[in-house]
């Protein structure tokens, strides 16, 4: 309980002792107790982000540990620190590749699982679910063992392969939900109206699945960009952004990393808020 809640409770208790109706007190306390708690939880969630943002303005040298003064230099020159930008670019490249592969394959699997009855259905469902239930350490370690065994040196492409693998499960689950909510009558109607199965898929199924596929793709990209553990095991000397930050943590992270992190945050925030406003506006139209 926070100090504020303690004080409020004490004040309310005073009220009781002074003879106010007990149920009214309980209701009033209950009324703002929950929102207060929620508010605090949200503040708690945003603390590191605020910190990252604040320290992106720090006039630090190599290591961004102690506040030395505010400056806009970091923002003006985000690629100032040598390895930061190349790590970000690598992360973006891997993210796009893994997303494209995982979304394409995952959508097909989701369609098969929901719309068709076949013998391997239960096994496939299980197989798709397992990577999500396996600790990342195990996934990363086993993949590394595989690559070493095949005498493939870990690097950029092994990371792409690894990311595609675990993103696949998330794509399937996301798209499956969307496919399940699709009225199969619509595809029947398309067939009734002279559309061949391929035409029906292209003109009816796919457009209606698009929001689900988009959500799956976004999720996949986010997971790939932010992944550390599996990447760490399978990247060799290639640096992705999270890996760069982790390795640099001992020496001191350049403020430019904070800039990148904050910029990402603001960009995504803007996109999400914009999307919500657009859907809200469309709903009112």
């Amino acid at each position: 309980m926070s100090a504020g809640q303690v004080l409020a409770g004490a004040a309310a208790a005073e009220h009781v002792r002074s003879g106010g109706p007990q149920r009214a007190w309980r209701r009033r306390a209950g009324d703002w107790l929950l929102p207060a708690f929620a508010g605090l939880a949200l503040v708690y969630l945003l603390v590191p982000i605020a910190y990252t943002f604040a320290f992106s303005f720090n006039d630090a040298g190599r290591s961004n540990l102690v506040w030395r003064g505010a400056t806009l230099d970091n923002w003006r020159d985000p690629c100032g620190a040598p390895a930061v930008c190349s790590a970000v670019v690598t992360s973006l490249q891997i993210g796009v590749l893994a997303t494209v592969l995982a979304t394409a394959m995952g959508t097909l699997v989701a369609l098969a699982l929901v719309r068709h009855r076949f013998r391997l259905r239960a096994t496939t469902n299980l197989l798709v679910f397992l990577p999500m239930a396996t600790p990342e350490v195990v996934l990363g370690a086993s993949l590394l063992a595989q690559f070493l065994n095949l005498r493939i040196a870990p690097g950029f492409w092994t990371v792409v392969v690894a990311h595609t693998m675990f993103c696949l499960s998330f794509v399937v689950v996301t798209v499956k939900a969307r496919v399940a909510s699709l009225d199969p009558r619509l595809e029947e109607a398309a067939a009734d109206l002279y559309a061949s199965p391929l035409q029906a898929f292209w003109r009816v199924t796919l457009p209606l699945l698009a929001p689900g596929i988009a959500a799956a793709a976004l999720l996949s990209f986010a997971l790939s960009f932010d992944d550390f553990i599996i990447t760490n095991f399978n990247s060799g000397s290639t640096d992705t952004f999270p890996k760069f930050v982790y390795v640099a943590a001992t020496r001191g992270i350049p403020a430019q990393a904070n800039v990148i992190g904050s910029a990402m945050f603001l960009a995504i925030l803007a996109v999400v808020v914009l999307a919500r406003i657009l859907t809200a506006r469309r709903r009112l139209a």
Partner: protein, 411 residues
Amino acid sequence: MAVASGASSGADLHLDRLTKRFGSSRAGAPAALAVDDLTLTVPAGTFFALLGPSGCGKTTTLRMVAGLEEPTSGRVLIGGQDVTATRAHQRPVNTVFQSYALFPHMDVLANVAFGLRRRRRRDAEAAAREALELVELAHLADRRPGQLSGGQQQRVALARAVVNRPAVLLLDEPLGALDLKLRRQMQVELKRIQTDVGLTFVHVTHDQEEAMTMADRVAVMNDGQVEQLGAPQELYDLPRSAFVANFLGQSNLVPGTVTGARGDLLEVALAGGGHALVPRGRSVSATGRVVVGVRPEKVHIAPDADRDGAAEPAANSFGTGTVVDASFAGVSTQYLVDVPGAGRLSVFTQNLGHAPLVRRGDRVRLSWAPEHGFGLRGDDDPAAGTLEHQDTAATDATAATDATADAVVAG
């Protein structure tokens, strides 16, 4: 794509020994026979209704005609051509679905033009607009289906199907989701469009009133088979089975035995002490046990008091009974009379402004003219097709399909 170009008028539809069995027989779960050896012909340009309770197989039959369901055996012929092997998108058949199935991501015009565009019609948009005019929705061409009311969606679904001028147009309980007034309005609309355009309409419904008002010919289905087929008046006036007698309107059915013949009339002694003369042409069986039936509005109800008074007309009679219920229903008054041995019988009398003839508790005589009665098979169940019977039948059907569903899933 080898699609028969939509004729300017419909073609006839012939179903030849069509059968559909769901699942396969497994221990403990018999395969569900949805449609059983169905043979019927729908003449070109007519409005045909497939009428029956839920679970009778009418929707399955429709889907087999549309190509959305593969028959276990039998053939579907449209305009003389065997289309059984063709896929849904190759058949000159269009469906108005029960849930409309309008494409939510396209506007109304695109929905209506969809079939035309798939068949590469040059003037798809113009034809679509024309179809929307036909259903009086041209002003909503740019809206999305989600922005329309139920009635409007239904008309768009109709336009989307009609615009393709199919050889056969199928309607799967399209009016089910509409309220009463709208439904009546749409019934008239549908009939008008069908006669204007000249297509063959096959309408599936469980609403017997709807079937009777709209259709030229009606097939009453039960348990995967056609019980009786004919014009609505024929079916109503002369049902050939207890199911049809009870499902279409209401009937009073009483078992009896043929005791003799008087020329063209069969003399029947009824259970409960009544007697009836039934024209031979109106009875399924002419000897032995028979079930005699008459519609409630054709029955004459009179107090039993004037037994020795006014001369009894040379009429059929169920005997004497007690009035158990008398309900005023505006147009008519509906009496429920308990005749010992014959059961609970209904009488509908038109309210012509008189004071009520009889009241609850009165003893009455029920009689009717011989030309109104009909005779059914002696072993026919007088309760077949009634509401209670339908409920239990529906529950049984659901249980059977659930069992089959489980069997299929496990496989």
